[in-house]
Subunit: 145 residues, 3 copies
């Protein structure tokens, strides 16, 4: 999950390999994650609660959003859909735009069709690379984890 | 956690045994999970936030509910209480009724009295069987995990 | 995470050592966790959604709060800041004041500067000691987990 993945997946890979907690056994998944709050165009995220005093400008502290974001094989929203990211984002930093996310990735196509990954963690969207923990998963077909 | 558990716990067991990620060491817990949004009768769940445009009909996308649901030994709400499921549900699918749930099961009776299990994952309630990951737990008495 | 840590970290340690699930390898972190809902003084938590019928008196069932709480080396808010706890609390008990918390601890100083820990679990704040599961973490520097 990275701002840079559109430009260079290799850079993400290099970064991952240099993390101390990397284990030899790794599954690499590449996909594009789309988030639209526009009711006119592929809406996939709705704001459900806010702390009005803070939420009208960055860092948007105190906004809860519920999402069903599409995952695609390519950077274009029109490219083949491979899954969904369903869950919530809570903007929870007073200093930068950063979200505590709880989402399940549901893969609906390809090798991992039927598998899910559950994620809970912080996504400071201003940072070029972000690392979020996978806390669970399931599989009706091939195993990811 | 299954729609079918009321009719046939054995069916759930069979399903679990056929999952590729099943490990030889397994703890089997059977209980009934009640969720009531009726203020007149055993209320255990309250809607706290919504995206009004979407939330008035299925799939109820964008509703956040906070819960303290009773767990009982039998299918009747009046049967012996063995614990609680405390946390939240976020309806997070644009196509079916499905929730991202974050709950702690607190066992208050029997062999596992004092133990907790923490769960984060997706619950697509229209599916007959659902598998949700246990992400943590604690125990003052006998260990579940 | 304990009410008692201000008075006696040793008591927490004793408690931890007696937990059956303790493993020989342990990392001990001691810090103070501040939560202020006062807009006039170090505000770090905002209420974003409520179930009005329940939320105006204990156990405050049905309140969602988003937080960016400071972590410090000492019990005074003015002591050196070592990190933040960003995420949400959902008050989710009908009988006591208890929260389902999802937060990331971000350490910003000292040996673990750059490390994070992700937590999802129940915090019954009336209990003297509370045990919450760490469900993930990351590290750019020294590893905690």
């Amino acid at each position: 999950m990275s701002n840079a993945i559109n430009q260079s997946p290799k850079a993400v890979e290099n970064w991952m390999e240099n993390l101390k907690q990397s284990k030899p056994k790794v599954t690499k998944l590449q996909f594009y994650y789309h988030n639209s709050r526009n009711p006119e165009m592929n809406l996939s995220a709705v704001q459900v609660a806010t702390a009005p005093v803070f939420s009208d400008q960055p860092p948007y502290f105190g906004v809860l959003t519920i999402t069903d974001d599409p995952l695609t094989v390519g950077p274009e929203i029109s490219s083949k859909r491979v899954g969904y990211a369903q869950g919530f984002y809570a903007t929870s930093s007073l200093e930068e735009v950063s979200m505590l996310m709880g989402v399940t990735f549901i893969f609906t196509d390809g090798e991992y069709n039927g598998s899910t990954l559950d994620i809970l963690g912080r996504n400071p969207i201003g940072e070029r690379y972000r690392e979020l923990p996978i806390v669970g998963g399931s599989s009706n077909n091939n195993m990811i984890v």
